[in-house]
Each structure stands twice: as C-alpha cells, then as structure tokens.
Amino acid sequence: MNGVFDLGGTDGLGPVVTQENEPVFRAEWEKAAFAMFSNCFRAGFFGVDSFRHSIEKMDPGEYLLSNYYEHWVHVAEDFGAQKGVIDLEELERRTQHYLENPEAPLPQREDPELLAFVDAVVRSGAPANRPTDKIAQFKVGDRVTVLADSPRGHTRRARYVRGRTGEITGAHGAAIYPDSAGNGGPEAPEHLYTVRFTAEELWGPEVAEPNTVTYFDLWEPYLSLAPTRP
C-alpha cells in the first residue's frame, strides 16, 4: 500500500531531534508495550510481517504524531480484537477505570513457560531465511530495475526505489516473502538481494548529494533485469 509510513525521501518533517542519555524506556507503559510484541507473537496473534502491516494501516495522522510504542499497542489491540481475545468496549471501560485510578493494581498470574520463552527468543531470535528449490534469477553484478506498480496491501518495495535501476551487490538465498506473509498468506520464500542505487538515480541529478549511494534489500519478484549500461 502507499502510506505515510513509507517515509524515505519525504520532505517537511523538520530536524532530527536527539536526546542525550535517553533512557531505554521513558515510562512504565513503554515496557508493557514493548513486551506486547513478543508475548502476542507467542500467542499466535501475528508474524513480523503482519505486525508491520497492522501499523501501516493506522490512521496516518496518528501514525506520525504518536509515540513509537503506541504503534505496537495498536497492533495488540487490532489483532486482539480480530482473534476475539480483546473486547474493545471492555477495553474502553477499563481505560476509564485506570484513568480515574492510575494506581489500581493489575491482575496477577504466573506463567513460567512464558518467562522461559522470553529468555529463549531473545537469545535465539526468529530467523526469516528459508530453504528453497527455486533457482536464483539474478546474480551479483546484475543491473536490475524495481517494479514501479503500486501494490495493495503489505510490501517492502518502498516508493523511493520503485522504477529505479541499481546494481545487485549481495545475493542472500531465500527469505519469507513479506508481500505474502504480511497479507495473511503463507511464507512463500523468494530470493533476496541487496541492490545499490546512486543518489542521482533516486533523486535526480539536480538535487542528489555528491558521492552518495543507498543500499536497499529487495525480493526477486520486485525486480527485472535492466538493459546493460550503454
């Protein structure tokens, strides 16, 4: 989908605001929001691609103005409701309750298996590379052009690289294909490549900064072989 989350090259957003010695979590609620990702993943709410797509479908104004971890809370609500785990009216009632009684306690429950899962997943991760029988159609050194179409649904084909031509600098085997997995489909692994684009190609010679390139990872269905350089 074409959305505001696809920020590469967007103008008018102002300076980068950094903060010295920023804490990892700025408020207690950020810890709970952060934990929702791994805890809800374990409960089968989503994979990482559908997690991202849920954020992409947020109200665009809210996306830009809210805290980053509020995006994660949105996903837990979104999939919680879809899975029938969260009743949104009950959520509103409880929100009001905690607003009026911020110190009211949370329900307590023990779950040693969840605690063990947390430590295990942080250590081992959840790899996205997959074996495949498919023969790679491209190789390092090939010049490729990115499909320019605007797809519906989730994709990692950012607008600023669509229609642009670059050179493959890395071939990584196959990985889960976001355009399938992020849209409720199977993992459907596809070959993954790193492609190098010049600033002139991406932004035009008039505005490109000198001596600058961008590397972007792209799945095979996004690409077609470009004519060799004249």
Binding site: E28, W29, K31, N39, V122, L192
Partner: protein, 206 residues
C-alpha cells in the same frame, strides 16, 4: 507538567491508562504476565545494549582474523562472543574506511540490530531521520548530528528493508596503538555504530 511521552494527541496519563487496560486483559487471557514484562525490560535495560557492539568492534580492531570473519558473516562472528539473537539473526557489518562512510536506517519501520546496539533511540524511529537520511545524508549528518563528512568520502546508506540487520564498523582512531580491547571498547559509541557520530577521542574516554 509535561511528561516524557506526552504527544499532541494524548497525555502520558491517557496513554498509560489505555496500555494498562489492554495489559490487564492480555494478562487475564493468558497472553502476558507482569513477570515477562519485567524480564524483557531488565534484558534491554541492563544486559543487551551498545556495550556489546562496542566489544565486537574493539575485538575487530585488535584481531584482524576476527575482523575478516565479522565482515564475512557478522552473526557467526558475534556468536563466537556469545552475542546474538532477536533482531540480529542475520547481521551484516559494513566497514568505514578513509574513502567510505556508512550509516543505517529503516525508512519503512524501525529495524535495528538489537543484539549489538540494544533498542533504538527515539530519533531513529521518528519520521524525520527515516525520511531524510536517504535523501540528504550529508546535510543530516552535518547539521543535525554535527558530524560533517567530506565530499571526497563516499556515503553509503543501508536501508534495512529485509530481515538483514546492518551496522557499522567505525575506523579505529589514531593514537590508540597502546590501548587494549577493554579500553578501546570504551571509545566505541552507539552513534558510531549507527554511522551518525564519531568514536570518542582517547583522552576523553571514561
């Protein structure tokens, strides 16, 4: 009074109440526990952070064979030091030289190599950096980070659009020949491994 996570849309008190309400329901439904939240916070506040990436960089500076392995397969090399895991399953280290400067971004969301850098700072996740670092990296580095890169040095921006997790191997500073790996690691800043800041000066090290 303003709180750190107040926004134009909601106060921190409103956000906290909403999150607590959702949290309470997820606890009752068997999805979350407060123990799991506390454990995750503990991990990323105290155990996994840029001090781990700094150890890897310092070793690469002092052990040429390790550096070769790090460039060839960063996740495997980091695993030798018992470093790795979630959001770093396939890490790629890109090396700064006299003629090349690298920086990382995720323009589509906020992908970041957690096992070596910890959780990303808020500016990395916010719209301005994600929008601008691909379009005007020289301007952003010079004006927003006070870290100008000469035009003679190529800038390479790595947009983390897949599950590969890029991070930067900064150059070892001059005048550090006598320092050991432990002292060198203290010079390696988080920002130098993102590519938006320098390594600390030896005299100013902690």
């Amino acid at each position: 009074m303003t709180e750190p996570t107040d926004t134009k849309l909601r106060t921190q008190a409103e956000i906290a109440a909403r999150v607590k309400a959702l949290e309470s329901m997820l606890i009752e439904k068997g999805v979350m526990t407060t123990d799991a939240i506390d454990r995750l916070a503990e991990i990323y506040e105290n155990e996994v952070g840029p001090q781990l990436g700094a150890k890897v960089v310092a070793r690469a500076w002092t052990d040429p064979e390790f550096k070769q392995r790090l460039i060839a397969d960063a996740s495997a090399a980091c695993a030798e030091m018992d470093i790795g895991g979630l959001q770093g399953e396939e890490m790629v280290v890109v090396e700064n030289t006299d003629t090349v400067h690298n920086a990382i971004v995720c323009t589509l969301c906020s992908c970041y190599p957690w096992p070596v850098l910890g959780l990303p700072p808020n500016w990395y996740k916010a719209p301005a950096y994600r929008a601008r670092i691909v379009r005007e990296p020289r301007k952003v580095l010079a004006e927003d980070f006070g870290f100008p890169i000469p035009d003679s040095v190529e800038i390479r921006i790595w947009d983390s659009s897949s599950e590969l997790r890029y991070w930067v191997l900064p150059q070892r500073p001059a005048g550090t020949e006598d320092l050991g790996a432990f002292e060198l690691a203290a010079l390696v800043t988080r920002d130098s491994m993102i590519g938006v800041g320098p390594v600390a000066t030896p005299g100013a090290a902690r």
